[in-house]
Symmetry: C2
Subunit: 258 residues, 2 copies
């Protein structure tokens, strides 16, 4: 198939285009049905999933590489993408014992194929917060499937990718405390209760409705719209949108949020 040709080219000549031993892994978080989901790819021939990742081109910024991966896997760009940690253990590739066999990708006729992609990799971790509905997951050439997984119910993951996800979640929760979150996770217009659900999901704990509203409004990054949303047999909540100027300012300067 065409894919196999691409893979062969990547394996044999990839080291000319990309920096060896360096990879970028993206923890792409989407929010849907009051769940935080993470985008994962299923590898060919192995019952194992992995974070969308990629390599850094010889003359490409690492940040750019991360954006490129995000774009290639989700079709969205210009997103909040945050580097959070670099994973440099030489054994990280063997961390999940049951998966210490490398995928068929690295074998040929049962024999292991030595190539640059089977070597040790130091991986730079990024996380992104994306609007679930705007994303159409696309598997890469090495994968047969790409889909969302509830972060509380993950499948078997390759290498140390479970640890990378844990780290990313920790970083996101930390961010929540000091910077606004939601611009890229919610639709253009949303209600305060919806925003609160998002916060509760990320923090995985309940928040007080009244205190949340007070606090959130006092930050001055929201604009109340003249419209309301109809939500069935209940009072209609106001719709809000982010004041993007102030939102980005708060992103830069930070604040305190309990």
């Amino acid at each position: 198939m065409k894919d196999n040709k691409v893979i062969h080219e990547l394996i044999t000549n990839g080291h000319l285009k990309y920096i060896p031993h360096i990879s970028v892994d993206c923890v792409i978080l989407g929010y849907h049905a009051n769940q935080l989901n993470v985008l994962l790819n299923k590898w060919k021939d192995v019952e194992v999933w992995s974070l969308p990742g990629g390599y850094v081109e010889r003359n490409e910024s690492v940040d750019t590489a991360a954006h490129r991966v995000l774009w290639e896997r989700t079709g969205v760009d210009k997103l909040f993408l945050q580097q959070f940690y670099t994973f440099g253990d030489p054994d990280r590739i063997n961390m999940n014992r049951r998966l210490n066999r490398l995928p068929v990708l690295f074998q040929e006729g049962g024999k292991e194929l030595h190539n640059w992609m089977a070597e040790r990799f130091i991986s730079i971790g990024y996380y992104a917060l994306v609007e679930y509905s705007k994303v159409s997951p696309r598997p890469d050439h090495l994968s047969v499937e790409s889909r969302w997984w509830d972060i509380h119910d993950l499948p078997a993951l390759i290498f140390d990718h479970d640890r990378i996800i844990s780290h990313a979640l920790h970083a996101v929760r930390l961010q929540l405390k000091y910077q606004p979150v939601g611009l890229s996770l919610l639709p253009e217009k949303f209600t305060l209760p919806e925003l609160q659900k998002l916060y509760e999901t990320i923090l995985s704990r309940k928040l007080d409705r009244r205190n949340f509203q007070k606090k959130m409004l006092s930050l001055g990054i929201l604009r109340r719209l003249p419209e309301r949303k109809t939500i069935g047999p209940h009072r209609s909540p106001f719709l809000y949108s982010f004041d993007k100027r102030k939102y980005n300012q708060a992103l830069k300067e930070g604040y305190g949020f309990a």
Copy 2:
């Protein structure tokens, strides 16, 4: 000289021992005379200073590499060493314009010498807090001098090392807010005013003496010793030492410090 032989070996065969395109840079901070100092090396033949750094061995953890660099440059080990960011801009090597000429190290008879060390590097930044007095700076093979510099009065730095230092300081100040600092920066026994000076130096702002003491003691990581320190014509302050068990616990769990 002997040094030149080592360098030649490094340039010609280093890529066999080390992962190419990857380096580790350490922002080693020492505290002395109410100043925060950073350890810098002066390069051979160029009026330019750089952070102590090194490469990652083919089968070495990145963390281990950072510890090794720290050990080789300062003679101290088992230190609090914290990864804080990875710098991956392909142009970082040219960032300081006046220094865009590479050191003589990469030239031979006026002609540029092409080798793995002159290529692009992605650098993983670590910071360490060390006790000034315990450190005997040792230049590496590429440097002629190694010494402390006041962070407010730095010399011309190579590449993007000024930016790396800024990032590190930011990370240290952030750490100060959530984790204890001082165990590796102060002698075994110290007074509360001394600890306060340290905090003021890192944050570069004055703190209220009484509030500082209340807050610090309430954290429960200090043990008041029966002795006092004689400081001339003034009341003798108590000596304290860190309760290492609780200190490390606070390191892990964190707290809030305004």
